[in-house]
């Protein structure tokens, strides 16, 4: 692809499953995102050592962020992107890195106690959650995607990506969406309540 594409053209091309646009999207953002992660991502271990994000880690985070971006566009869970695509990818990579750090800390501390379900039950749980998400309107589907599928914790990050006001607006919107999601979920699985 010789011509430069706008962000909107990229999103439309990805949505239409155009392989050339998908390749362009992947290649044009890679260097910036990987370099950013290598320079800025790190965590401190319990004994005070710093674990930096290496280039291989950064490339893996980048690939995973791209996969989720493409899938969420295809499945219409992200309908509008106000931030630059690279900013969106870097934010996704940052949260994935944060979760990796948390998982690492948990491993080195103590195993999580719990009622984690077996494989079959997990699949059923995930399938029911997806059903409940799909019943939401596009705006709420997008909110739940950012908060729970992508794991973005800071409302300001979501506000920046979606262009919906500020963190407080997102907090209120997410609260309404989560209520609707819970209603759909309870109906789907027929449980007493969550």
């Amino acid at each position: 692809m010789t011509k430069d594409l706008t962000e909107l053209e990229i999103i439309q091309g990805v949505k239409q499953k155009d392989p050339e646009v998908e390749a362009y999207f992947y290649r044009t953002n890679k260097r910036k995102c990987v370099q950013y992660a290598v320079k800025n991502f790190f965590w401190k271990t319990a004994n005070g050592n710093t674990v930096k994000c290496g280039i291989e880690d950064a490339e893996e985070l980048y690939n995973d962020a791209c996969v989720l971006f493409v899938q969420n566009i295809w499945r219409e869970r992200i309908v509008q992107l106000e931030a630059k695509i690279s900013t969106y990818l870097i934010t996704s990579m940052r949260y994935a890195w944060l979760n990796k750090a948390r998982a690492n800390k948990k491993e080195s501390a103590k195993p999580e106690i719990a009622g984690t379900p077996a494989g079959e039950n997990k699949e059923s749980l995930r399938s029911n959650v997806r059903k409940a998400i799909n019943l939401l309107d596009p705006k709420c589907r997008e909110m739940m995607t950012y908060r729970y599928i992508l794991g973005w914790e800071d409302y300001e990050d979501i506000a920046q990506a979606t262009g919906k006001g500020n963190g407080n607006v997102i907090r209120n919107l997410l609260s309404r969406c989560r209520k609707r999601f819970r209603e759909h979920y309870v109906q789907t699985v027929n449980v007493s309540g969550i």
């Binding site: 992947y26 280039i55 749980l125």
Partner: protein, 252 residues
């Protein structure tokens, strides 16, 4: 029992480690004392930690997308190798054309250059390096703004101050470009030399080598410049055509 939105916000903050110790203690007490609340909280935790992960169907789709992404990465690597191994005849044509263009420019600018002051072969090769993460920067940052406007003298000082105060060290490259652009190539040399072959800067080695070579040429450290430029030509990659053309200019 049905959790309130407030309960959920507090519980999630606690699981993320973002709740202060007083609130955390109160919530833990409630979880211990209220069995129904505890059960509903565990149910929500399970949904948050497991339920939003992709079901099998989506996992398979993700695997397919991932394979394509990996193929794009490999194709990009092959392209860069192919670029480096492009038949010499074609490269020679490009290099010849670039050298001819440079020669014409030199002839045209020659008399003017002599009027304005001594020129360097690097003059015709120096170009602004756009910042990679411009969209991520704070719009109020004076150094970056000065750099983007190509107000190099101001940008050089401000960018170095920014790095010294813990800012993005990527700005070292842009500070070096600003030093060269403001006629202070000697200041760019020690900065860029410290970045050559550094592992953290692997993705920027082409830019680092190219601007270091330009700085050497400006400072008339021709031996070091030629050695670096020849290395760039041999390894191919970005700036190899420019390196070849600059070498040709220097030899003339």
């Amino acid at each position: 029992m049905r959790l309130s939105e407030e309960d959920i916000i507090k519980l999630e903050a606690m699981w993320q480690g973002a709740l202060d110790s007083t609130e955390r203690a109160a919530l833990e007490k409630q979880l211990q004392e209220d069995a129904a609340f505890h059960e509903a909280a565990e149910e929500w935790k399970l949904i948050v930690s497991e339920g939003f992960l992709p079901p099998q169907e989506e996992l398979e789709e993700q695997e397919e997308i991932k394979k394509r992404m990996q193929a794009y990465a490999q194709e990009a690597e092959i392209d860069s190798v192919a670029e480096a191994e492009r038949p010499f005849r074609i490269r020679r044509l490009y290099i010849g054309l670039a050298a001819a263009a440079v020669l014409l420019l030199l002839l045209w600018l020659g008399p003017l250059g002599r009027v304005l002051g001594p020129s360097s072969p690097a003059d015709n090769f120096f170009a602004h390096l756009p910042r990679d993460n411009a969209n991520l920067s704070d719009p109020g940052d004076a150094g970056k703004q000065a750099y983007d406007r190509q107000t190099y003298k101001r940008a050089y000082t401000a960018l170095l101050q920014d790095v010294a105060s813990g800012g993005d060290s990527l700005n070292l490259i842009y500070a070096s470009v600003a030093a060269i652009g403001s006629g202070q190539a000697e200041k760019a040399i020690p900065i860029l030399e410290s970045l050559v072959d550094a592992n953290n800067w692997r993705l920027y080695q082409s830019e680092i080598s190219w601007y270091l070579a330009l700085a050497y040429v400006y400072e008339e450290q021709n031996g070091q410049a030629i050695s670096l430029l020849e290395k760039m030509v041999d390894t191919g990659g970005e700036y190899s055509a420019e390196a070849q053309a600059l070498l040709a200019t220097m030899k003339k």
